[in-house]
């Protein structure tokens, strides 16, 4: 993959989202650069998930433009859209796995839809994705109802990664996971980013994961975003941003980042 950090692959300009009388986004601008992990934070109801859904085309904004890989998501034809869908993967909050299919079949759905591969090769590829996201070997044969929450998220990520996308959108990937599983998920994202050259757009409330893996963070306040590195945002004087990062939990997460070097030696979660 051509890896040129700094080139924006998602451009949002002048986005307006309104639900009834409620304005969620008011002339919001956002760039996502190739190869970065961008965290999206904001209070409940500030429109984090709406932003994600708008970018992947699940929600039509009132105004504004959304460009992904240089093409206008709101104006492209269905054929162009299918091409675009091959280049991104989305992980929904609870995995959103198809409950009537096994994990392996779930992973094969996008492959089957877009490419005509022999069955055996598809089985092999889905097994690789199962291993890639750190699921146990027998997980591919199981149905989503037989998996724990953390495993469902991993399986959802495996399906999002099925076509080797350039961008993955993660909606609260660590919510509902225990701290160990959440930490392992962070490491997984970081490893996959390094090995697959992923760009990650991550809606998250988990301060630990923000500090652990995000290159930049976009904070949704006052219906707009403020983007910056964590260092920049820590100095931001906006009251919400200040209390977010300097509240008790924010400080704890900062401290734990300082201790991350020690944590590194427990990082080898992958079954090598």
């Amino acid at each position: 993959m051509s890896n040129q950090p700094g080139e924006p692959i998602i451009r949002v300009r002048g986005l307006v989202n309104r639900f009834g009388p409620e304005t969620v986004h008011e002339h919001l601008d956002l760039d996502v650069m190739r190869g970065e992990v961008l965290g999206i934070v904001g209070g409940s109801g500030s429109g984090k998930s709406v932003l994600l859904r708008t970018i992947v085309g699940l929600n039509r904004p009132v105004a504004g433009e959304v460009e992904v890989f240089g093409s206008d998501v709101l104006a492209i034809s269905d054929v162009q859209r299918r091409e675009l869908e091959k280049r991104w993967g989305v992980l929904f909050q609870d995995g959103a796995l198809f409950s009537s299919l096994t994990v392996a079949q779930n992973i094969e759905v996008p492959i089957k839809e877009h490419f005509n591969l022999p069955l055996r090769l598809m089985d092999e590829l889905s097994a690789i994705k199962v291993g890639l996201v750190g699921l146990p070997k027998d997980a591919g044969e199981k149905y989503p109802a037989q998996l724990s929450g953390g495993m469902r998220k991993r399986a959802g990520l495996a399906r999002a990664l099925a076509l080797d996308p350039e961008v993955v959108f993660l909606d609260e990937p660590t919510s509902g996971l225990d701290p160990i599983a959440a930490g392992a998920f962070d490491e997984l994202i970081r490893d996959l980013k390094a090995s697959l050259g992923l760009t990650v757009f991550m809606v998250s409330h988990d301060l630990d994961s923000l500090f652990a893996i995000c290159d930049r963070v976009a904070v949704l306040v006052d219906k707009k975003v403020r983007v910056g590195t964590l260092e920049q945002l820590l100095k931001d004087n906006h009251p919400w941003i200040h209390s977010y990062f300097h509240g008790p939990r924010g400080r704890a997460a900062q401290n734990s980042k300082a201790a991350a070097a020690t944590k590194e030696k427990y990082g080898a979660w992958l079954p090598v």
Partner: protein
């Protein structure tokens, strides 16, 4: 995306076979590469080099094809090595090497294509039926106990949900039950008149209509419509509550789900189905009367006279008495299947279908049982 982009060239160097992979090894080209890689035949126990210098783009599918080839060649006793792997592909290669150790999942494929599988399936279905019957019986017991408890403490009957259920299952169902019964009356009168005219006994169409609708068709039509309309709704409502863990929440708060959810539905339906039956009877006979007037010229006066002479005093009650029993069956099955829902959306759909099929089945079985009992009682 062009599939010409990936190539795979065999050549021979002194002491070694060389495979030079080049181009774009991606999921887009994987099908063609897979076919060609599976077709190669190498003598055993050789030194083989996989040269990756020409690879421009690589994804997990491409990396897997290379690693699988290495693995398969090595399994044949060859010494295999990679060369010229680009540094920026190395992490991907390592990831896939780790992931590739997972054995591909076996897909659940139907086993009943063999005789043994077929027999096994029959056995499983039979056993399943027996266990379901037992579990339904146990649910029946729970309901009886709860009903008994509620009857001793009538204040525990929740009036608001009871009335709400009666509105939903009763009042709102009047138009559909009425319309369909009216149409059934028309059809019955038309067919009956056609046959009876051959004997010059057209007037007995009225007897056919009266007895047929009052004793059987009115209550059966109402019950079948309600099984499809309300029984399914019971299953879907309770099932969705199970998916959302609402039932578990009730238990932790100290509410008895059977008392809160089943009793209002059960009592509501047992009260409304007799009324709907009355409505079905009336409109069915009205439909028949209209048809008799139009095609046979039987005036409404003649019709009522003939009807009065055709019916015993209890004919009407023999149909109506079945309604609460049918209502009990529909509510029992509807709620039971709702509680059987597992925690998935698919399960809600499956149990709802089952609920309708079972309720209609059991209603007709019960109707047959009533006929037998009535014939013993000579009424």
């Amino acid at each position: 995306m062009a599939s010409v982009a990936a190539t795979f060239v065999e050549s021979e160097e002194p002491g070694s076979f060389v495979f030079a992979a080049a181009g774009q090894w991606l999921v887009t080209t994987a099908a063609e590469l897979d076919r060609r890689l599976r077709a190669i035949h190498i003598p055993r126990d050789k030194k083989i080099t996989l040269d990756l210098a020409g690879i421009e783009r690589l994804d997990t599918a491409g990396a897997w094809l290379l690693l699988r080839t290495e693995h398969e060649l090595a399994a044949q006793g060859n010494i295999v090595e990679f060369r010229n792997l680009r540094a920026n592909f190395a992490p991907l290669f390592d990831q896939v090497r780790v992931g590739g150790m997972v054995v591909p999942a076996r897909h659940p494929r139907p086993a009943h294509h063999t005789l043994a599988g077929f027999l096994e399936r029959i056995g499983r279905i039979s056993l399943g039926l027996v266990t379901r019957a037992f579990s339904l019986l146990s649910f029946f017991g729970v309901i009886c106990v709860t009903v008994g408890r509620v009857l001793f403490h009538p204040r525990r009957v929740r009036a608001t949900p009871l009335v709400a259920q009666m509105e939903q299952t009763g009042v709102n169902a009047v138009p559909i039950v009425g319309l369909l019964s009216f149409l059934i009356g028309i059809v019955l009168a038309y067919q009956g008149a056609d046959q009876l005219r051959r004997f010059g006994a057209e007037i007995y169409t009225v007897n056919l209509l009266g007895v047929g609708i009052l004793r059987e068709l009115g209550v059966l039509m109402a019950a079948i419509i309600i099984a499809g309309r309300s029984g399914s709704a019971f299953t879907a409502q309770i099932g969705t509550m199970r998916v959302n863990e609402e039932i578990d929440a009730m238990r932790t708060i100290g509410l008895d789900p059977v008392e809160v959810l089943v009793i209002p539905r059960l009592f509501g339906l047992m009260l409304t189905l007799p009324m709907l039956t009355l409505c079905a009877n009336l409109l069915g006979i009205l439909g028949g009367a209209v048809m008799a007037w139009v095609t046979l010229g039987i005036t409404p006066q003649q019709f009522t006279q003939q009807l009065q002479s055709a019916l015993y005093p209890w004919t009407f009650w023999l149909g109506l008495i079945k309604a609460p029993f049918f209502a009990f069956i529909i509510a029992l099955i509807g709620c039971y299947e709702g509680f059987q829902v597992a925690r998935s959306a698919e399960s809600v759909g499956r149990q709802t279908t089952l609920s309708v099929v079972e309720a209609i089945f059991l209603v007709i079985v019960a109707d047959a049982a009533f006929s037998i009992v009535f014939s013993y009682l000579k009424i």
